[in-house]
Amino acid sequence: MATLSLSSRPLTFLRPNRTKPPLHRLLRHKPLASSSASALTPPTPRADPSPTPDPDPTPLFLRSASHPVPAAALASFRRRAAALVPPSAPHLHRHLRWLLVDAAADPSSDPALLRAPLDDLEAMWTRHVRERRPFQYVVGNEHWRDLVVAVREGVLIPRPETEAVVDMIRKVEGFADGWWADLGTGSGAIAVAVARELGHEGRVFAVDVSEVAVEVATLNVQRYGVQGKVEIRHGSWFEPLEDVKGKLMGVISNPPYIPTDDLPGLQPEVGWHEPKLALDGGKEGLEHLLHLCEGLSSVLKPGGFFVFETNGNKQSEFLVDLISTKWNSSFHNVEAVLDFAEIKRFVTGYRR
């Protein structure tokens, strides 16, 4: 750890990733029943793990329920889909239930009104089961805190650990009317959750370098009607925040923190499908975190608060140590905070 260069800047990630608009490519799919390969045999990872985009970029649960399907056809889809999954995978049965909840306006009506043609649902389900495409991308949302956050390929699916960040900053004195920055906002989950609790003067500046993230965050901000409180800014870390330097009550960030070397070993749902830009923390996973630590004191106002999510014990301990020695004059009460699995997941502190 000590050998890390503290001044390294995450050059490789400065360029916005040029994700093309999703291809409106129709997915060809085989009917589920005629499948020969075992549902649970994962395919070998593709050489290029870039995700196959959904034909329709609108999250399933937000599409209009305009596809009438006879109840019997829906029921037989349910049976076919369930047959693909062994009883030993209860989570997949749960997903099937939720898929139908999200896909149908009123699943008990006949005909049921679906938000996608039945064929598309079949294709989505097969991809979920076969290609380990995350369920959240399939339905286009993640239930996070009390929010239903829209997500799609190209943005990170918000994690349950991150829910705690909102509770932490809510306890900061002056929270409600402060200005906050959510750096690397992704889906905008943190920004929206924070904005919903802010008072009249409170603001969130939500920054991301990814265009998809900016689009999805904009959608979520609008869905929850907090556009008056959240300002989304496209750019890298502190760069779009020149005008609010020294005025922020707090900085929140869950930056990419997985060491580059660990990327190949990730769970398929993550490694094959989630954006590298949101995960890759460079060497030791610390590149972005260190960059954030360095810029922190210039954007926070005196007394301001920060919370970073990290890869766990090692990173958190290292950062606490670093900040309270190297930048002792700028920060106090720097500490590692445990997540629900008792892992040191967060680093928090105050600017002097």
């Binding site: 997985i258 993550v270 999510e309 997540d339 699995a341």
Partner: protein, 466 residues
């Protein structure tokens, strides 16, 4: 009582005058001798506003409650509801225009209603509450004062509504006889119709009185747990849970699955649903206990007969915040699903089960039905809150916790109902002996007759204790 009849008949005014001049000073309504008059306050309609003002200002309340006198409603020739009920007049079908029959039916209903409301207890309790309300320092503890005045108000409401009903009966009888004396055919018919109407509403009131317990109007949780016997019982537990879901659906209640532990092969080990809607608890509490099934097992290749058990618990969800158990955050241990790995950005999971343990009591609640941990935590907290409320209810009232006992306390000996699918078909309630020969409809949620039979038998046969 503002009845149409009174307004249009001068005779009526005369009648009520007469009645007012002839109260029966020796009349005693209460078995233990307390006079109704001292308890009831004004019998006339207190305007709603004045009513609540009285509750807010105990000092004024006390003066009016001691000053006012209640009269036992009585016809011009001295008939009271009680005496009518005691006459043994034949009760004919409603269609028969016989005022004695109507009056006897209504009077019987009123007797039953009073019994179900625990009339003696209500009067005694109202008296005690009135004394408490008079205390000058009562409002030093606003929470307690609020609770007392609310309860007092509720009981007064019940008393008033029964009294009005009695009064109405008496007035219709007087009116009818007067109409006969004066050969006023139209008035006679109208009074007869009014009496017949009263019979119908009396039946309704009888039913309502079955659900007059403290928390009867609340929503509730229903929990089902499989007994010993593995898959067989787990399958039965799932059938029982389905029965309640369909029952609740028929009533238009909203159902949410809070917790479900599936069995390895089939059915459930245990499950909790939330049933939202008026009187869900009042009805469902009748289902607490052990349900027994006898059938040829679908899981036994030898096609033998099996007996399985499932236990049911029902917990009210209290609406009144002030009577809820105060939970300290520091008393809670929150356990979450952990992927076991490095977590954070490494892991994708939709598993979000939450278990909350209340350390001092060891009571816990689990929720895994919601799609986020945050929401599961909120649901589990709601269940935990109700379980602790339930303890609190039992503690505070030191009441018989029969209806609200938790699954842990249910003794597997407490069998309440038997469902036999083989060698004959029958469902029989072991408490009321009520039985039907069509188990399928019962398992599809047709439970109301079992419930009403139980509620009425448990109230109607209960000792009137004060």
């Amino acid at each position: 009582m503002g009845s149409r009849l009174l307004a249009r008949s001068a005779a009526a005014r005369l009648l009520s005058h007469l009645r007012r001049r002839t109260p029966d000073p020796t009349h005693r309504l209460l078995p233990h001798g307390a006079s109704l008059a001292s308890l009831l306050g004004p019998t006339g309609d207190i305007p709603a506003a004045a009513d609540s003002a009285l509750l807010r200002y105990p000092a004024r309340w006390s003066s009016s409650s001691t000053a006012a006198f209640a009269e036992v409603p009585m016809t011009a020739d001295g008939l009271t509801v009680e005496s009518i009920a005691g006459k043994g007049w034949t009760i004919l079908p409603e269609a028969e225009s016989d005022w004695r029959s109507h009056a006897a039916a209504v009077a019987q209903s009123i007797k039953l209603i009073k019994k179900r409301l625990k009339w003696g207890w209500i009067l005694e309790r109202t008296k005690q509450l009135a004394v408490v309300l008079e205390k000058p320092d009562l409002w030093d503890d606003p929470v307690f004062a609020g609770r007392v005045s609310r309860e007092h108000g509720e009981l007064m409401g019940k008393i008033k509504s029964v009294n009005q009903f009695e009064q109405e009966l008496i007035e219709h009888i007087d009116m009818l006889r007067l109409a006969r004396e004066e050969n006023d055919n139209e008035l006679e018919m109208e009074s007869m119709r009014a009496l017949a109407d009263m019979r119908r509403s009396a039946k309704e009131k009888e039913l309502n009185a079955l659900l007059s317990g403290d928390n009867d109007s609340c929503s509730c949780f229903i929990e089902v747990q499989a007994g010993a016997g593995g898959t067989e019982s787990m399958d039965w537990a799932a059938m029982v849970m389905n029965m309640y879901r369909s029952w609740a659906q028929r009533w238009g209640y909203t159902i949410t699955v809070v917790e479900e532990m599936p069995g390895e092969v089939a059915g459930i080990k245990r499950a909790t649903i939330k049933v939202d809607g008026e009187y869900a608890f009042g009805y469902a509490k009748a289902e607490v206990g052990v349900h027994r099934l006898v059938r040829i097992s679908p899981f036994d290749s030898g096609k033998r007969r099996h007996t399985s058990f499932a236990a049911v618990a029902v917990i009210p969800i209290l609406g009144d915040a002030s009577s809820r158990y105060q939970i300290k955050d520091s008393d809670l241990r929150i356990e979450r699903f952990r992927s076991g790995g490095p977590g954070g950005q490494h892991a994708n999971t939709t598993e979000s089960a939450i278990r909350i343990v209340h350390i001092p009591t060891g009571i816990s609640a689990t929720c895994q039905n919601e799609r986020s941990q945050h929401m599961n935590k909120a649901s589990a907290m709601a269940v935990l809150q109700s379980r602790l409320d339930q303890l609190e209810i039992a503690r505070q009232a030191q009441m018989n916790a029969e209806h609200t006992q938790s699954l842990n306390e249910i003794s597997w000996g407490n069998q309440i109902r038997s469902y036999v699918l083989h060698p004959y078909r029958m469902v029989k309630d072991l408490r009321t002996n009520y039985e039907v020969s069509d188990p399928d409809s019962v398992l599809e949620g047709d439970l109301d007759d079992f419930i009403l039979n139980y509620l009425s038998s448990s109230l109607d046969e209960a000792e009137v204790s004060v």
